[in-house]
Structures are given as C-alpha cells and as structure tokens.
Symmetry: C2
Subunit: 576 residues, 2 copies
C-alpha cells in the first residue's frame, strides 16, 4: 500500500550504486537547464521570472517521491504557462499581485482536480486524445507560444492575444517601433543555441547564451537605449503561504483549472510513456501519475509555485543524461534552491530577448511536420482531423482547439459505429467458408431462399435503425421466395436495450412473413444478453448456431446439429 | 427530382377516391382539436393565444406538400412552446411586442437550421438520441409543462421558472391567494376530459369543455371575481410580414434555435416513424423530413407563426381518424382559417383554466412509467441514464437535460469500446472450435507455447493502450515458452492510424522476443487496412489465416495452408 502511493520506497530500497553517476549528472544538467527555462516560462505565463524558479523547486521533489516514472522531469512547462496566461488574461484582475495569487491558486485548483481524478481512477480519460489531435494541437500551441515571444525579440509592445491573426495584426501595427539592438541579441542567441545543439546535444546551450547575454548587457550599457533586462530578482527560497482568493472567483477559474489539469496530465503521461518504453525496470500507472502530479501541484502551490507538469524537453534531456531514479530531480531541486539563495543578483542584466530566444528554439522543436504528411498520404480523414485541430487552436483559441479536436474524434468514432459495414455472405464453392459476395467472385450464386448477412459492430441505439433498414432492403430484394435469414453475429460485441427492442420487433415481423431468423456465431457476451433479455424466447433455442455452415447444413437436411454444437451455441454465464 | 422534394406529386397523382372520407374526417377532427390546443400551447410559450392559431395555419399546409409522412400533424406543440418560453425568458426583452417578434424570428431561425441540416443529409444525428434519454427527457418535460400551467389552474401569479424546486417554492409562497372558482373550473375540466376520453377516444373532448367553459363564464359573471378569461382575440388571417430583429440578438438566439431545431425534429421523426410502421404505402426519408419541417417553419414565420413541428397527440388522432394523405392537414388548415376569420369573438369568455386543464391532461399522457420499470429490472446502467436525464431536466433545465443525456450516452458507448471484451481462446476437445477458456470448461488445457486471444471491438485510439496492456499481461503470464500469438480478429471491424502505429510497434517488440504473431479471421475492411497501411510488410503474408484452427494445424505441421485458404486470407479490395 505504502509502495503503491509512494513508489520511492520501491526504488530506494533497491537502489544500486551504479545508478548514482547517471542520477548525479542528469540532476546537474536538468538543474542548470531549469534556471533560464523556468524564468522564461514564467514570462510566458505573464508572471515575474522568479516564480518560474519557485515552480522548479518543490513540485519535482514531491513527484520524485510519488511518481511512477523514473525519468519524468516535473516543473514549469511552456504549454501550461500559455494556458495560465490565456486563462487569466480573459479575467478582469486588479493588478499583478492579484494575477500572481490567481496563478498560484490555479496550481492548487488543478492539483486538486488531478488528485480527484486519480483517486476515482479516471486515468483512462487520456485515451480519448487521439494522435492526430495531439499532433495538431501541439504544433499550433508551439506556434502560438513562439509568437507570444515576438514582442521580446522585436523589443516592441504587442497587446496580448492568443490568436495568430490578432498577433500578426498587432505586430504590423507597431512594426516601426522595433528596437534593433534587442532584435540582434535575440537572433544571435537563436543562432548560437541552434549551433551548440548541433555540435553536442546535451550541452547546456541555454546557459551559455544567458551568460553571454548578461556579460554583453553589463558592459555595453544597451539597457539605457531600450533593450529590456530582467532587473531586480528577489533572493531567497519561496515562503510557505496558503493561496487565498475570493470565493466568488472559483467558478470563473473552474474551466481553466479543468483544461490545465487534463492537458498537463496528457503532456506528462505521453512523454512518460515514450520514455518508459525504453526502460523495463518499472511500469507506469496512469492513475498514480494523476495522484502524483496532483499532489505536486497542491504542495507546490503552498510554496508559491504556479501550475507545473512533466515537460517534453527536460524529460528527454534527463533520460539522455542517464537519470535512473528520483535522485536526479532531487539534485536538480538543490541546484535551483542554491540559485535562489545566492545567485539571483547575477541575473539583473539578463536581456529578455535571450529568454525569448530560448523559448522559441525549444517550442519550434515541437512542431511536427512528418506525421501530418504521413497521414495525408494514407489516412485523409485523420489528416483532416489534425488540420482542423491545428487551425482552430491557432485562430480561435487553445482551449477551443483541444476540446473541439476531442469532440470531433469522438463523433467520428460514433459515426463509424452508426453506419457500420454489413456484408451479404455466400458459400465459397467446395468449402465451408461463407464470405462477402461482393469481395469474392463466388461461382456459387446466392441462394434464393436464404439470406446470410454479417453486421460488423455492436448493435446499439445509434445503429439499430440503420441495421433494420439495410436488412429490409435485402429482404425486399430477395422477394417472396425468402424463407431463412442467417445473421452472422461474430462481430456483434454488444446489444443495448434499444437494439434488443428492435430485434424483438423484427423477429415478430419476420414470423408474420414466415421467415426464420437464425443467429450464428454469437460470442459469449452477446449470448449472455440474448438470454438475460428474454430475446431467446422469441428467437428459439433451435435457431442458435456456432457456425454459418452448420446452420446451412441443417437447413439442407445434410447434417443435424450435434450435441456439442448445441451446447456451445447455448452457453451463457449463468449456465456455467 | 420534383417528387423527391415535393412528395405531394407522388401521392396526388395516385390519389384514390376511397381515401377521401378518411382524409375529410381526420382533417375535421384535427382541425377542431387544433383550436383549443393551439391557443393553449401559445400560452405555454408565453404568447397571446391568437399566435397558436396562426401557427396552426401555414406550416401544416407546407408540410402536406413537402413531407414524406402522410399522417404527421404539424403545428404548435407543447415541448417547442416550453423551449420558446424557457429560451426567451432568459433574455432581457423590452416587452410583449419584442417577445412576439423574437418568437416568430425563432421559427425562421430554427427552420433555416433544419433546412441546412437536411440539405447536408445530417438526419442521422437523431440516431444519437437513445431510448432511455428520450423517455427520461419526455417524462420530465411533461411534468415541467404541467407545472407551468399550475398558475392558471390555481388562479395565482407564480413567477416563471422551469425548475421543479423553484416552481414548488413559488407556488407555496403564494398558496394563500388561490382563486377557488378558477380551481373548480380547472378540476372539473380535467375530470370531464378524462371521462369523455374513457368513453370514446376520438371524441373532441377538449372542444366540449371549451364550449362549456365559455357558456359558464358568459352566464355566471365569475370573470368579475378574478377568474381569468381570454379577452379580446383579434379577427382575421395572419399578415405576411418578414420577421425582423436586431442583428446583435442572433448570437443570443443561436443556442435556443439549435435546441429547438433538433428537439422538434426528434419529436416529429419519432412519432412519424411509429405511425409509418403501420403503413406500407410510403417510406420516411429523415433528410427530406428535415427539409420539409424546416421549410414549414421558414414560410410559417413569414405569416406570424412561432416554432412548430409534428406533435404526438394530434398525429395519433389524425391516424386513428383515418388520414391517408396530405389532404387531411389541408382540411384542418381550412377549419383553422375559418375560425380565424369568423369565430374568434366566441372565445372572449373562455377561461384560462380550461386551456390549462387541456394541456395538463395531454402532457400527463406523455409520462412513461412502464419503460423505466422494465429497464430497472434488466438493464441497470440504462436505467441510471434515464434517471439522470429525467432529474437534470426537472431540476436544472430543459436544454441541459437533453444535452447531458446525449453526452452521457455517447460517453457510455465510447467507454464500452475503450475497454472491450478480450478473451483467451482454447480448443474445445475433439472439435475445430476455439472458445473462451473462462466460459468453457475445456479439458484441453491452454498450450504453453501458443496464446490465442480474441479482441471484440474496433481497434482505435481509445482502446489501443488497453489492448496492448492486456496482451502484455497474457504474454508475461505465459512466460518464456511462448512462441506464437494468434489474434482472432473476427470482431475487429476497424483499425485507425493510432492503433496501426501501436500494432507495428508491437510486432517489432514481439520479433525481438522471437514470438510470431498470426492474425486469423480478419474481415474484408480490416484486411484492406492491413494491406493499405503497409502493416502487412511487418506481419508477413504467411501469418494471415482464415480460421484459428487452420493456423493451429499449420503450427503443428498437421496440415499446410491450402491455395484457397491463402487466397481468402489475403483478399483485399484493390486485389479483386
């Protein structure tokens, strides 16, 4: 029990000495990465940079204790920060102090939702995010995040907005105010990071440009000609403080907190899964992940942390640098803690444009072109889904994009089950196979007195009318000589009450026309429903068969149903 | 083409003389019913009674020309009227004139939506309303409608509200103001209608109580002691008038118009279907129904009609009275027209309580107790769905009830496909049947080197992880001696791109463990996907089989795959 909720007891008791070098190196690398990234992401969220460091401290320690992934790096991430900014930007707040306390309360709120969902074992919810939706959404969000940094790179004021057309319009309206020094710093920083990454991937390129940027600003004095710098950053660890907001705000924050809780979880679980596939020494538990991430956010919020989750880039670095257990994030947290205690004055001269450059490089890596191209070739429908999610996220909004994407993919699934494949079967000459007559050029023509159909989906309220309509068309086509219908039910995996009702009615109608209905190949759960719903009294035990050819043989008087066939065709749960 | 969009040309050209008596009698009966009903429903909608008569005039004539049902009686109905009242009640309007013009505009708006959906062939949408949801919603709406008439029966003022708890509270707050004469009239009217209906079902009981009510009020003079009467009703046909409202109102009205369009369509199509089952001389086309109902509302709105649709009660009466074609509603419309021209002064003394009594009797007939009881016995899950829809409609709102009901039923369907049935199969001794080892006490134990599983649903983004997880558990259970996995794919009716990706990865992983994956019994559409997605290169042609036992026979070296088996197992659309 203890191990289930605190997996640390699991790996700490079996910790091996040879893990330590990897954990140490990974912890140091991620810790150093976190300092500029944390400040940069806080900027995306519209918060003072120090809050990015606060968010890099407590949550990852809690996750190290409770999480089931041993490489996931928890902390501030770009997507969450953007959601915070777009969510809080829409409210009317009195000033930066209220903004900060709302952001911290959001961490508590989303954490509580995640914990709640985890306890209720709702981790399966994340299954409803299909790959095309995630891909379209991530690419669009990356573009929006990059655009949100344009103002820092160009050194101009661009009014907020998360829609691409508005950002472009506002940018062009102010294009004449560009600060060329700022733009230079930004572009050089981008080129440098890209260059360093090309030479050696695990090198802390961000840290290099941060140091260079600080040195440049310190000596050049450009801050007097409009190049924006960080300015004073408070020293010391975050204080313990219960987040408090007006009670009336809770209903306003609920939709933002829900979106954050789900999207943050999705991001964390998908990267954790990708990494877990390379490691065989542990298994992910998506419900425990919800609990761990939720608790990280709740406890984090008590120490001034804004919403956090497991991020793509740092987790990848953590894994590549050799992290084996939760020791690595604890080391990272120590690095961040030391920085907060002693090093914040060093960042006084850090130009904003450098942080913006770090963000831009990071998120452009998230834009996926290969996968959409692949879909365009083989699955036009799923490509369309990706494109719609992408365009709505870009032009309408972040929340709208993900919600509509999920809704559309669910509707597609439902639509597919509402008009499923239905085939007329015929015997392939000289065999016991009954196959779709439209696919197989069977010489054996369809018999006039028998109609064999296979229905390839569950029978439920969404397709019962479709089933009946299609069946009636076939009956009409066959004309008056039709005596028997064999329904091959191998692919019918469920029958709900609406469909049961329809089937009973159908059997009565067929009986009036003196047509016999045979059900062949019903699987266990379907047999259970046929018996428990009382449908069996309408169908009759003698009309259940295991295989289509056995029904045909009996019809033709060739062979009787054997005892064993009878037993199998009538087996149900209650009968065992 | 003409006949498709104007089915009147279809039946008018083949009109038989023997249809006429039925059509005439039905038209007269429904016309006489319409007069009190129309006025009563207008009252539910919060409109002056005359608008109920206007709505009974043009729409049913248009439907007679364009509809595919030959018995559906179109006009004002209780549910739509309630939706109009609850939708417009939530807006801040300047007075009754604006209220009326908004209601008429709603008819235009919902008609346009229906026409649009019909042209796009979206009639299948109505399939998503499952029986439990419809039943729970209808019963709750009937109760809400009946409660909305309480104020007329009690003769007191009850502030609006569509939630049962608010109506009860407001009623008890004003209970001391009851007008006992009004209450008497109402109760007597209810008993009378019930009594007459018991004796003879098709007798226009409503008309009788209307006449009695008018006579009573004329001679008693009770209108001076607070019994409310209709008062002056304008004479003459509705004028042609294009509905106009402020453009800015459109976005406010959109959700109401959408709900109206869909619920009205649902009501009409379900009653039309029920009636069509008794008649073999025509077929319903749900898309043409959308077009016909939409056009009825659009043209109706140009002649001051508020939202209309095909109603339950009048359609039943129309059919029982012998209506065979659209001649019947044309007769009804003439009756209503004559009333508007000459008879409106007669209704001056009609007490409101009588109309309220007519409504109450009508809607209590819609409350369904039998069906929920039946579900409670055999399908607890669907009963819960019905109950939730019922309670939300009663206590939260009409719109919320239907929307949540539909959403929950879709989620249930998705949930079912996200964790489908998966069985481990074993050979039943001495046969070629492979069945669920947990259902059949096969003596033949599961073999150590072969794992046979059947997965009973489409493989898609929502269940691919579930599939993999379950399969891996079985693989782990089998241990190192496992050499072959046979996936019985008979019930897998689709594989989407996310699942394809998962399968390809899985095959690679299995190959690394030297485990062979065989797919047996894939149906046509699945074979198409296996080939077109390139999955076949990973699987290998030799690993496709038609039946599980054939794969086993080959594994055991008993029998080679025959030419015909090979051909069937590899058949795809492109290959034919």
């Amino acid at each position: 029990m203890l191990k289930r909720f605190f997996p640390i007891f699991d790996w700490l008791s079996t910790y091996k000495k040879e893990y330590l070098p990897g954990d140490l190196f990974a912890g140091l690398t991620v810790g150093i990465m976190l300092i500029p990234q944390g400040m940069a992401y806080a900027m995306i969220a519209g918060l003072p940079p120090i809050f990015g460091l606060y968010a890099s401290l407590i949550p990852q320690v809690i996750y190290a204790i409770m999480g089931t992934s041993r490489q996931l790096a928890v902390g501030p991430v770009a997507m969450d920060s953007l959601l915070v900014a777009s969510g809080l930007g829409a409210l009317s707040l009195s000033g930066i102090d209220e903004y900060v306390s709302m952001a911290i309360f959001l961490a508590l709120f989303m954490g509580a939702i995640q914990l709640f969902l985890g306890v209720l074992r709702m981790g399966f919810l994340v299954n409803f995010l299909s790959k095309p939706v995630i891909s379209g959404f991530t690419s669009a969000a990356a573009i929006i995040i990059a655009l949100s940094q344009l103002k820092h790179i160009l050194g101009i004021d661009i009014a907020g907005g998360n829609r691409i057309q508005i950002v472009f319009k506002n940018t062009f309206d102010n294009i004449s105010d560009i600060n060329w020094c700022t733009l230079c710093i930004g572009l050089v920083a981008i080129v440098l990071i890209k260059g360093i990454k090309k030479v050696k991937k695990t090198f802390p390129a961000a840290l290099v440009v941060v140091v260079l940027g600080i040195v440049l600003m310190y000596f050049s004095g450009w801050s007097t000609i409009g190049v924006k710098i960080m300015g004073e950053i408070p020293q010391g660890l975050p204080k313990f403080q219960v987040p408090n907001i007006e009670f009336s705000r809770i209903s306003e924050l609920l939709p933002i907190a829900m979106t954050l809780a789900l999207i943050a979880f999705m991001e964390a679980i998908s990267v954790a899964k990708a990494v877990a596939e390379k490691h065989t020494d542990y298994e992910l538990d998506s419900n425990q992940e919800l609990i761990a991430l939720g608790t990280s956010n709740i406890i984090g919020s008590l120490f001034q942390s804004y919403p956090t989750t497991g991020g793509f880039s740092r987790t990848a670095v953590n894994e590549q640098a050799g992290a084996k257990t939760g020791i690595a994030p604890i080391i990272s947290a120590i690095i961040v803690g030391l920085t907060l205690l002693f090093l914040t004055p060093l960042f006084y001269y850090l130009p904003n444009a450098v942080l913006a450059a770090i963000i831009m490089v990071a998120v452009f890596g998230l834009i996926d072109v290969k996968y959409p191209m692949q879909l365009l070739k083989s699955r036009k429908d799923e490509f369309a889904l990706l494109l719609i999610t992408f365009l709505i996220t870009l032009t309408v909004g972040i929340k709208e994009g993900i919600i509509l994407g999920v809704l559309i993919s669910l509707i597609v699934v439902i639509y597919r089950t509402s008009k499923p494949h239905m085939a007329v079967l015929g015997r392939i000459e000289g065999t016991n196979y009954f196959k779709n007559i439209n696919r197989f050029n069977t010489n054996d023509k369809e018999r006039e007195d028998v109609l064999i159909v296979r229905f390839d989906a569950q029978l439920f309220f969404g397709n019962k009318d479709y089933f009946k309509k299609r069946l009636q068309k076939h009956i009409l086509r066959k004309g008056l000589s039709l005596r028997t219908i064999i329904l091959n039910a191998e692919a019918i995996n469920y029958i709900d009450s609406s469909a049961t009702h329809m089937l009973m009615q159908l059997i009565d109608e067929l009986k009036a026309k003196k047509i016999r209905l045979i059900i062949a190949g019903a699987i266990g759960p379907t047999r259970d429903i046929i018996f428990s719903s009382g449908m069996i009294d309408k169908i009759g035990l003698n009309n259940l068969f295991v295989r289509t050819y056995e029904a045909m043989d009996e019809l033709d008087g060739k062979e009787e149903k054997t005892k064993i066939q009878e037993k199998i065709s009538q087996q149900t749960k209650s009968a065992v």
